[in-house]
């Protein structure tokens, strides 16, 4: 039972999700990592350090759905499991690969019950489906946030696979959100802001609180649609799925599509002017009041307490 795991990376840096995927995949067998990138060397070197990795395979190509799918297809016969993160890349390529290999994939897995039994959320996380996959090869995506990271300290060998992969679709441009906040999907603390934050300037207040706590910053769809926050900050059914130790939701009503993204949070704190807001109802700790008054005071208070992370 062996695993081929597709590594996510951005801007030449390995995604922090990879160590979690390795730990999760180890339940299925020995893990080899595939890196498809224009310059895979430094990404592969990072991947080789993750404990439990047997080897890292690199393909030099512009990563886009067709090149990644073709690389995976080239290697897939050697493995019983092909795994990717339930990220924008994994979601793009695993179903494409599945159709090529005529395999029904199981995606957004949050729990591995046995090598062929998995749990995945449906209906925006309002139900959990347990499926048995009797197919000879399993195509899977895992939600990184549901698993703990593997340790580092490994020195797995790196091999380059000399294949030429092409794509009819061409990559034109990346529009990257400039931000030095931690990765949302794997952050330990997340601060979320809703549409009631009122403006992009208002979001600087949320970001300031984020900095104080070393937290990642997220937003509701309503806040993103209004242009107050970038799209890659969206948390929820259509955005990112988070599972931090602490989620602080500020001016967020708690629509079920938003709750879909935060169900894995250990503790949920809420600041809201409405004591009846659904998010207040499920929060472990809530403070009722005006966010514009509360958040600056909270920053001062936390600075006074001297939390340094």
């Amino acid at each position: 039972m062996s695993v081929l795991l597709l590594a996510d990376h951005d801007n030449g840096v390995l995604s922090p999700a990879t160590a979690r995927l390795v730990a999760a995949s180890s339940a299925l067998g020995v893990v080899d990592i595939l890196v498809v990138a224009e310059n895979p060397a430094s990404i592969a070197a990072e991947a080789a350090k993750i404990a439990g990795v047997q080897k890292v395979i690199t393909v030099t190509a512009t990563p886009i759905a067709e090149t990644i799918t073709n690389s995976l297809e080239n290697l897939a016969q050697r493995y019983r499991n092909v795994v990717a993160s339930a990220s924008s890349v994994g979601k793009d390529v695993i179903p494409r690969l599945a159709a090529k290999l005529d395999i029904q994939p199981v995606t957004d897995v949050v729990e591995i019950l046995s090598p062929n039994r998995f749990t995945r959320p449906i209906y925006a996380g309002n139900a959990l489906e347990t499926v048995e996959d009797p197919q000879a090869t399993h195509l899977l995506t895992f939600r990184a946030s549901a698993f703990r990271p593997a340790a580092s300290g490994n020195t797995a060998p790196v091999e380059s696979l000399d294949i030429s992969v092409t794509s009819a679709a061409k990559f034109l441009a990346a529009h990257r959100t400039d931000s030095d906040t931690p990765d949302l999907a794997t952050a330990q603390i997340v601060i979320g802001g809703g549409v009631s934050v009122g403006s992009a300037e208002g979001f600087q207040l949320i970001e300031k609180l984020g900095k104080t706590l070393g937290a990642a910053v997220g937003a509701t769809r309503a806040a993103v649609d209004a242009g107050y926050a970038p799209n890659d900050w969206q948390i929820g059914q259509t955005g990112k799925i988070i599972a931090p130790d602490l989620y602080i939701a500020i001016g967020i009503s708690g629509a079920l599509q938003h709750l879909a993204g935060i169900q894995g949070a250990k503790k949920i704190f809420a600041i809201n002017s409405d004591p009846e807001a659904p998010l207040v109802k499920i929060a472990d700790v809530a403070l009722i009041g005006d966010l514009f008054e509360i958040v600056p005071q909270l920053v001062t208070e936390l600075e006074r307490l001297g939390l340094k992370r």
Binding site: V89, Q104, Y123, A127, I282, V285, A286
Partner: protein
């Protein structure tokens, strides 16, 4: 340009669903159903392209029970020309859905196939990508903007790091994200007119596709309930609670 749009009938996104106590699934009897929101954005994108002038025909296809006619009618009222219902009462897997759609693609030969990026019931996010592979076409998933440039599309996609723009030569498959556009509500005359547009109903069994599922659903269970917490009275109490959480966190 000919456009095919695949639409799915799902439990309305405003309905708070209930898991059946016997673990066999989600209660759908007597529950309000409507077109999957992502599919609405896909239909709107097709209609907007047609309004710009370079579209010969918009065809709608849905796979599901007889009642899926309703969502096809919604799409026809938004401006599509004709509909195809592939009728089945069975719960089909995504790969089977994609194979049935691929048969329709080989009959209809559309230049552009639009789908929603995911359906809000099963949240799979599979079908567009699978259909692209089965029909050997390039794909542009999670689209928030589509610009026609001759025989190519420039598509801006919502991805984890922000957005990216790619070009895809036609014929191609594009899946719609929610920020692609604002779907119209069809006016009553359009709704009336939709009823006279052609709608072919064909049994799923006539396409020569094996409809049997590969996976076995063992059970559907409700998620664990969160225990209600407490409301604190002041910012300093709230800050103290935050501090105590942070201090308890194990270093990763």
């Amino acid at each position: 340009m000919k456009i095919l749009v695949a639409v799915k009938r799902v439990v309305d996104h405003n309905v708070r669903i209930r898991v059946r106590p016997d673990g066999t699934g989600v209660e759908t009897t007597g529950v309000r159903m409507s077109m999957n929101p992502f599919c609405k954005h896909a239909v709107e994108a097709a209609v907007q392209l047609a309004e710009k002038g370079d579209v010969s025909e918009i065809v709608i296809v849905s796979i599901g029970p007889k009642q899926s006619n309703d969502v096809i009618l919604t799409a026809l009222a938004m401006g599509a020309r004709r509909g195809i219902l592939i009728e089945t009462d069975a719960a089909l897997e995504t790969l089977t859905i994609a194979k049935l759609l691929a048969k329709v693609v080989s009959e209809e030969q559309p230049d552009l196939i639009l789908l929603g990026k995911q359906a809000v019931d099963d949240d799979s996010n599979h079908v567009g990508q699978m259909l692209a592979a089965l029909t050997n076409r390039p794909q542009a998933t999670f689209a928030s903007q589509i610009v026609v440039k001759g025989a190519e599309l420039e598509v801006t996609r919502e991805v984890d790091y922000g957005r990216e723009t790619i070009s895809v030569p036609l014929p191609a498959v594009v899946t719609a994200d929610l920020r692609l556009n604002t779907p119209r509500n069809a006016a009553l005359p359009m709704v009336m007119k939709a009823r006279s547009k052609p709608l072919a109903v064909r049994p799923a069994t006539e396409f020569g596709v094996d409809l049997a599922p590969r996976l076995r659903t063992e059970k559907i269970s409700p998620p664990t309930e969160r225990v209600p917490g407490k409301t604190v009275g002041s910012v300093s109490d709230f800050a103290a609670a935050v501090a105590s959480e942070v201090n308890e966190m194990e270093a990763l």
